[in-house]
């Protein structure tokens, strides 16, 4: 039963990944990529160039941005799930509306928020901070965080909601019999049981945000302002605008390794063999 999925993944992910790693070791740019197999081999040269081109700064920004977004979206998602778990009139509609920010394509979200965040745009008008610059400068990082939070909290919400449905109703009965109030029941029974889905949601949200390209690209354009030069935009610019495919692949591979390290640590910490 594992074979079809596994075969697909090897073909479509692992093989291209191997190719990408190989490209990272080649001097591939607009002059050599037509005959890419015979491009000169330069070993770790691309990685050195990548470091000179702002790789570390970009990795730091991406990780920080993903961490803050994850920390912000988890409480919002869990709260929304808890609030819409029980039946009420119009629940279906509310649940569906909550999903919309996640459904809209990232470039539409970017476009609309770019207009909202203009110096004389509606955000500044409502906040009374006319003229404040959100799309460049130090505040741009927070603008990115806010917009990404707005667009991606529904994922946490979905996963938590599914998790809530799996809780044995007898536990609710037992809690009622024990005379537990709402808050105590939440704290002692429900939230601990949600640990699994929420942890997964957090990890996935983190990974997706680290790799999120379209939103920063549309919101800030290229070249990016220094404060939001996140890794996916940097690799995209290197690859599709500077045509330094080798350097871009090296950046992506380096970031992959760096993201995998804490990921593996997380996986070890979460005992995977709880069930057997």
């Amino acid at each position: 039963m594992l074979v079809p999925g596994g075969a697909l993944m090897v073909l479509v992910i692992v093989v291209p990944l191997g190719t990408a790693v190989e490209i990272a070791l080649l001097d591939l740019d607009q002059y050599t990529f037509r005959q890419w197999l015979s491009a000169p081999f330069i070993g770790l040269g691309n990685f050195a160039t990548a470091l000179d081109s702002g790789l570390l700064h970009a990795i730091w920004l991406s990780v920080a941005y993903a961490a803050v977004v994850t920390i912000a979206t988890v409480p919002i998602g869990v709260t929304a799930a808890v609030a819409t778990h029980n039946h009420f009139a119009g629940r279906g509609l509310v649940r569906s509306l909550f999903l919309v920010p996640y459904v809209l394509p990232a470039f539409v979200v970017g476009t609309i928020w770019r207009i909202i965040l203009q110096p004389q745009g509606i955000a500044n008008q409502l906040l009374g901070t006319g003229g404040t610059l959100w799309l460049n400068g130090p505040r741009s990082f927070w603008a990115l965080v806010i917009v990404q939070t707005w667009a991606s909290w529904p994922l946490i919400y979905l996963l938590t909601l599914a998790g809530l449905q799996g809780i044995d109703p007898d536990l609710h009965e037992a809690a009622a019999l024990d005379g537990a109030g709402h808050w105590a029941k939440l704290r002692r029974i429900i939230l601990p049981l949600l640990r699994g889905p929420v942890a997964l949601a957090a990890v996935i949200a983190f990974l997706h945000t680290v790799n999120a390209f379209t939103l920063p690209f549309v919101l800030f354009g290229v070249p990016s302002p220094r404060d939001v030069e996140v890794l996916p935009v940097l690799t995209y610019v290197e690859s599709f605008q500077n045509f330094r495919f080798g350097v871009s692949a090296a950046m992506a591979v380096a970031s992959l390794i760096l993201v995998l390290l804490p990921l593996i640590a997380y996986l070890r910490a979460v005992r995977l063999d709880r069930e057997s």
């Binding site: 479509v12 992910i13 190719t19 029980n86 459904v103 599914a162 609710h172 699994g196 790799n211 063999d273």
Partner: protein, 286 residues
Amino acid sequence: MVRPAVANLLPRPVRAALIAVLLVFTAAPLLYVLMASLNSDLAVVAGSFWPSDWQPANYVRIWSTVDLGPGLLNSVLVAGAVAVLCVLVSLGSAYVLVRYAFRGRTLILQALLALQSIPGTLLVLPVFVLFASLANALSVQIIGTRWALGATYLTFALPFSTWVMVTYLRGLPAELDEAAFIDGAGPWQVLTRIVLPLSWPGMVVSGIFAFLLGWNDVLFASVMTSPDTRTAAVALQVFGSAQEGGAIPVYGQLMAAALVCAVPVVVLYLVFQRYLVSGLTAGGVK
């Protein structure tokens, strides 16, 4: 079975307040999108909220500016197939990974999660070259077909979907399976008759995620489709494109088209979210 009030997680007023706040937070920018879709392009760009120049005709124009109809059809076909297949495959894989202990199981689970961290931009050129080479070698058309695109999306959606099912299945008591085995059922029957019906919440989430991946992706769709197999996401890009030097993007139509493209997904979710109900395992163990 369980008195509804007992299953309440929050007191009514708290719940109502929270929902109200969340609705405002979510809906405010969406309202902006809606207003923009009814406005003229220049007014949208200038940042005005309330339409000064009502253009409901935007909703009509979008169908002729690009081939949105065929695009939506292609998207439904591809994303739909991806969602259904992904859910089924990930359910099967997750079941094996959760219920059967074998060597390398942990490694596979870790690998699945690690695969989630690979950025799409890294893979798009190699995947294209791979498919093009295969097409040459086998003398069959791959690039430009819907199924090649679907296979790519399926592969990207599987790791996350499998993990969702794994997380969810872990919460299902093994006693149910054991009871069935004792009754003489084979593994396939246990999977389809017992586990599947109870896995609806997990399947809904997996399915939505896989569907959205296929629905919204632009990067792979823009290189792997031909004009006939173009998805709605790629067609949507045209609305946002600017002619360098002075023709502004048709923002009104962009917003209208975005909302139109969001409708199928929301409707699908509306239909399936009724399966996100608790109590599916109720009475099962007894």
